[in-house]
Assembly symmetry: C2
Homo-oligomer: 325 residues x 2
Amino acid sequence: MNADWIDLIEKMRQGSVRALSRLVSRVENRDPGWMEAMQQIYPLSGQARLIGITGSPGAGKSTLTNGMARELVSKGFKVGIIAVDPSSPFSGGSLLGDRVRMKDLWDLDEVFIRSMATRGALGGLNQSARDVANLLDAFGKDFVLIETVGVGQDEVEVVRAADLVLVVCVPGQGDGVQALKAGIMEIADIFVVNKADREGAEELFLDIQSMLDMDSNQDKPRPPVLRTTANQNQGLPELVVSVLDLLKSSRHRQAWKKIRIREELIGLLEKQLTGWIKDQWEKDGDLEKAVRQIERRERDPYSIVRERLDHLMQNMRKDDPSGKR
Amino acid sequence: MNADWIDLIEKMRQGSVRALSRLVSRVENRDPGWMEAMQQIYPLSGQARLIGITGSPGAGKSTLTNGMARELVSKGFKVGIIAVDPSSPFSGGSLLGDRVRMKDLWDLDEVFIRSMATRGALGGLNQSARDVANLLDAFGKDFVLIETVGVGQDEVEVVRAADLVLVVCVPGQGDGVQALKAGIMEIADIFVVNKADREGAEELFLDIQSMLDMDSNQDKPRPPVLRTTANQNQGLPELVVSVLDLLKSSRHRQAWKKIRIREELIGLLEKQLTGWIKDQWEKDGDLEKAVRQIERRERDPYSIVRERLDHLMQNMRKDDPSGKR
């Protein structure tokens, strides 16, 4: 780890937002030394609570997230926001993201906002979001709000890693009941019916309640269903109170925390290892050879991969007859 | 590979759709022996052309895909469709997928349709889609249409693997220009303005054209921009003609094919390897120990992963001082 990293970490510890910003970028880019840097930074973390906010496009998640941030700041908390924009070439999400939102919250020093595109997250989207969350945590944030659209598996994984997950529904998208069907139920700690002033809001509210009535999962408490109209600042204080309450009593999250740590470890190892494996394969020229063979249809990818795999595994096993390490 | 696999492969070779269906499921599920099975099947493939169809939700991709399938069938081709539904808990996509579409195309023996959810693709979404495409190819399909929503990085990766990529835009979503901005331009071989009878279609058409005018990428030919109204069967014959023409002359795709093979090899290896690495780590108990240490904040995940990584790599290197294999 070179002097640059040390300098940045030192400045971040002293409260420099700019240093924080640069650290986030460098860690996201996997600049050389990033792991050592995170190793230094990690012990500073451990205080922040992660709140995941997910919902379909157009559910008003950004407005809700900003509103929650304001509300938390008014209670004296420091807040970081990680907005995971769909990498969609169609939404163009993160292009505008930061700036539009900055404008909304620019006057609040206590809020740090970071947009992440889902494309090109070098460490994998999920891990990158965790790294950034760890950084914000180490910087002294009390809450990190991670907002992501509930489309695409990576995007959903991101919120699963939170201490508490809000699922935002809106009337008129016909998604209330389907959301519950398709597996979001297990990750939701709170349901938010946003745009509650719209037609159909009450129906959606009741739909969600009756789905919860039918849920037989006893591992976690029944999620409350709250109504908000985020763009009119309605229902946000109640929502934040509910969040704070649940965080106090989130016993079921203890088990979840272990799973999260496991996943983080495995994810980090895999990502690092596979980068190395690929480099090796390229370096020894076998990869190019294999590509040519497949192109000429002399061989198939499946047998080539099996061969390479056998080779790698044998090497690892040979060195370790005990199988213990 | 047991007798079951051999039996299924034999029946598939004889043209059994049912056997094909079961093979697809078993390969998707990574049933033991799947790699050996694919190794047997792969040499049968190599004829089909892959067409990727992507666009924002609501762009009418399914209708367009079905229409293209009908058109191709009428020209005497055999067609497979892989519909990658967003795993969105909110869209509930693939729940209905197969059945609704089956109804539309049930009378066409020449079309095989398979929906894949993006969640829970054991081999990774991209690889799973390739496996299924290889199976359909081996079964004798001339064309495999892969349809996916352009949200989420995995979903976009899937179409990138195709021989030809159609990007579907519709008026009124304000996404025409943004699509081009955010990186879809490199992968689009044809732009389709669908729902061309709607207001704003002409504007969208011109927007796309002017974006293409500004594109300085000389590596590939300028993508044609076509108008369709898929639900009225308008413009589909012209679209299919254009697709067939482009496939004949897709010289730039040769280079791309190599990249695709490379990616497939690396993806397969990584996925298999990481499964093994995880199993090992769990088996030797070190993973649980590490989780506990992090939970108690005695250690950080980054240093643990670096340690484990060093260990794995040393083993691999030790066995191979030459670094050649």
